[in-house]
Point group: C2
Chain length 486, copies 2
């Protein structure tokens, strides 16, 4: 499609899944790649992922976690060392059988996750409690086979961070897993502007090989859940399989206690779904690659207007919030003003400042929000610091998006006491359902078969209560969250 054609967008309000693909392609976040199940993350989409890395890296660094790089290829024999793990991942593997023109004796698996290859090395590196904790993270690509692509949300290859730590005690490992869970909550709520529920996964839904899987779960506008990120207490499952033992402070031999955790580019799918509208993306300021666009209204006195725009850009960059590159003057003379307005909406630019003859002569501008519910900020440049006003507007918009999403989450979290009610909700608007469950795998399976809703998590703050399982009626002590999911 030429860049000059009008980018007619499917309406989110009418067809969310059609809108989702459409808005990603048209805003140039991503594109389909030649191999089924794969996608290209285009510069605009990748810039969001770079922001995520810039946010998480310092948190990890401060906690003593260091980045490293482990190989892409894992010998199949190595993957088999942890039984649950290999069982969980086998159906999704991509396997290299030819290397350098020769058939390989031991086929190589393209990493679906790196526990096995990393822990084989950890066993070599760890001897004593003095080598602990060992705290390593990778930013890399992993492959889990998919035949159908759903951009960002379901692709054979995706990017993520995978952290892998080894500790002297289980207490330390649990603390680490929960600290990371808190980072994931923070990045979702304070950066993605998406409220999440923190909890633990059921045995059926936990990571293959984990003792406990902690999760952050978000609710999308179509009432389906998105597993935002997970953090696992691996216990000693892998350390026993991979023989990662150490001499403890008492001089005795012990196996290390481990965690692993990850946040993937899938989260960008959640970001798009959560905030976008009929006109395109809506990006929360803290993750938006371009935060402000200055739009000259050209025609008369163009030089004066362009000089004004340039000064305005400089003034905004002088503040603490918007860095060079995050504010753009769109002065391309070939495209019309109307086209540019549509394009800033499509791309979800948080703030737009139109500048015409009136703005120049009055030395006064209007900061317009991408979301129509927020009123323009009028800035008299004679008396106001524009950088501060922009900073405030960005912060207002960030807060607005979170609160709107929080309201949606609250309104679509249902506490139900009957299975009929449960089924009715899942057949209708969906959402999160809080319901007692006996924690038996059979009930969980039946509920999923009948309503497509799986257990999402047992919230960390769930109270112990007296209740009965929504499905079998047996005594139950906790309300779990159920939802259909991506």
């Amino acid at each position: 499609m030429s860049q000059f054609e009008k980018k007619q967008l499917t309406k989110k309000s009418e067809n969310i899944s059609g809108w989702y693909t459409d808005v990603i392609l048209k805003s140039e976040l991503a594109d389909y790649a030649p191999v089924k199940g794969t996608m290209v993350i285009r510069p605009y989409g990748f810039a969001i992922w770079e922001r995520v890395q810039e946010i998480l890296n310092p948190w990890m660094k401060k906690a003593g976690i260091k980045n490293a790089y482990f190989p892409l290829f894992i010998p199949h024999s190595l993957l088999e060392k942890e039984k649950e793990h290999v069982k969980g991942f086998s159906p999704e593997l991509a396997v290299v059988t030819i290397g350098g023109g020769e058939k390989l004796k031991d086929p190589l698996v393209v990493r679906p996750t790196s526990e096995t290859i990393m822990y084989e090395m950890y066993a070599k590196w760890i001897q004593s409690w003095r080598d602990l904790p060992l705290l390593i993270n990778q930013w890399n690509n992993v492959v889990r086979w998919e035949k159908r692509t759903y951009l960002f949300l379901r692709t054979s290859e995706f990017l993520w961070n995978e952290g892998h730590t080894a500790h002297e005690t289980e207490k330390e490992a649990i603390e680490m897993a929960l600290m990371v869970l808190e980072w994931y909550r923070k990045i979702y709520e304070e950066y993605y502007a998406i409220p999440v529920v923190l909890g633990t996964k059921s045995d059926a839904e936990k990571f293959a090989g984990a003792k406990t899987t902690y999760t952050v779960e978000a609710l999308m506008p179509d009432g389906k859940a998105l597993q935002g990120a997970t953090s696992h207490n691996l216990g000693q499952n892998f350390s026993k399989s991979f023989n990662i033992h150490f001499q403890n402070r008492e001089g005795k031999n012990d196996f290390v206690w481990q965690t692993s955790w990850g946040l993937s580019t899938r989260s960008i799918g959640g970001l798009i779904l959560a905030h976008g509208d009929d006109n395109g993306l809506v990006l929360p300021p803290k993750l938006a690659p371009t935060k402000v666009v200055i739009l000259p209204i050209l025609g008369k006195e163009d030089e004066k207007i362009l000089a004004f725009c340039k000064d305005l850009k400089t003034a905004i960059e002088e503040g603490q919030t918007v860095f060079p590159g995050e504010v753009q003057v769109r002065d391309d003379p070939v495209k019309t003003y109307g086209w540019k307005v549509n394009d800033t909406e499509l791309k979800g630019i948080p703030l737009v400042i139109p500048v015409g003859g009136k703005e120049v002569s009055e030395n006064k501008i209007n900061i317009k929000f991408r979301v129509k519910e927020l009123q323009d900020t009028v800035v008299d440049l004679n008396s106001h610091n524009v950088a501060e006003k922009v900073e405030k507007a960005l912060s207002t918009m960030q807060t607005y998006l979170f609160e709107k999403a929080k309201k949606f989450l609250d309104e679509n979290t249902h506490t139900v006491t009957s299975y009929d009610q449960f089924k009715e909700i899942m057949a209708g608007k969906r959402g999160f359902i809080q319901a007692f469950w006996c924690e038996g795998a059979a009930c969980e399976k039946k509920i999923k078969e009948e309503t497509k809703a799986s257990t999402r998590c047992l919230p960390l703050d769930a109270k112990t209560e007296d209740g009965v399982c929504i499905y079998c009626g047996k005594p139950s002590t906790h309300r779990w969250i159920f939802a259909q999911s991506y």
Copy 2:
């Protein structure tokens, strides 16, 4: 090996290749991974690569180049579109034949480089001159099959940047390729502290599918060349194979002009070889993850000494050059002072500041250089700004390493006029040889067979002269650089 054993190092002066592997393993830059041909980049090694990314990213960004991510898997049929390209890479491919438990109809190649997958997308994205230039870079992993691992320098999988640009004219493409070459020169000379020769590759040595390959060539201490990085003018070879055409400013249909270029983790191998000594790594300050280590000499008045060290660290961090995390106080009470001194040498820490009772009482310190040829900087803390002194010492060391390497390069670049002389040098200390060559493939091949020396490049600044080919005696106009290479 326990961290308390003495890390006895092979001597570089006696066995450079043994030393190389030994120093990498013992300084914990990297380790062998379970699959032949692969390696793990450990946190200390990966931190150097992160520095490289931090240096190159802003240069690229300023030039309008954006980062993105393209898939790991390339259909074999796509790779075949450019004949020279597929011919060049076929022997090195890793091929996925099984996905999700099923045999694939079209096997997938694990990218050895991304021209083909990227240009398939470029053909879709580019319609008009208004879509040009298209400037995209990736930081990713690529696979070129190797059976033997030589850490960093030869591994089946390596990390790199790969930039891929498309332009309206060949002139623009050449300018881009040369601008990137200049970045590569700059990062090698000003950051890696390794002098390089810039030039063009011969037809036999150029990138499979390129019109011209520009290269930066470095000389290692054993007299062998390292191809530091390359930048290719692809002409219209790929745009014609991939049908990347556009409507030009005159309204006519034309094929784009392209470049691609890359710098890989192989460069870290060069860094290690170039500067290290019998005691371990020597890292140039601008790439060293830890720039300064403060070493308390404990025993008496420990509290006073440790407080002094802490203040010293803060004072150093207050300057413009050393950021928090780049200066460390090594106060671990378990390890001895001597062990720590050896360890800072092994790890190539540029500056070490010992702090004992004397330093505290006199309020005066010695900044010791990793290289013994540089004399200690004495800093009287009563009258001097320690941050400035550290900054100056780091700069002195950076310059010293470059100049030392430059001297080595100059002393080991030989201009020869007879093939006997050529053979004698290649059988002895090796180095760069400047010699006339007729530019015929037959002579190039013979010279390589007989001396193991290949053409490295025709220097960009080579003069046109009258000479005769060192091998066949035919008239020749340029002196090429020959060397044995990694």
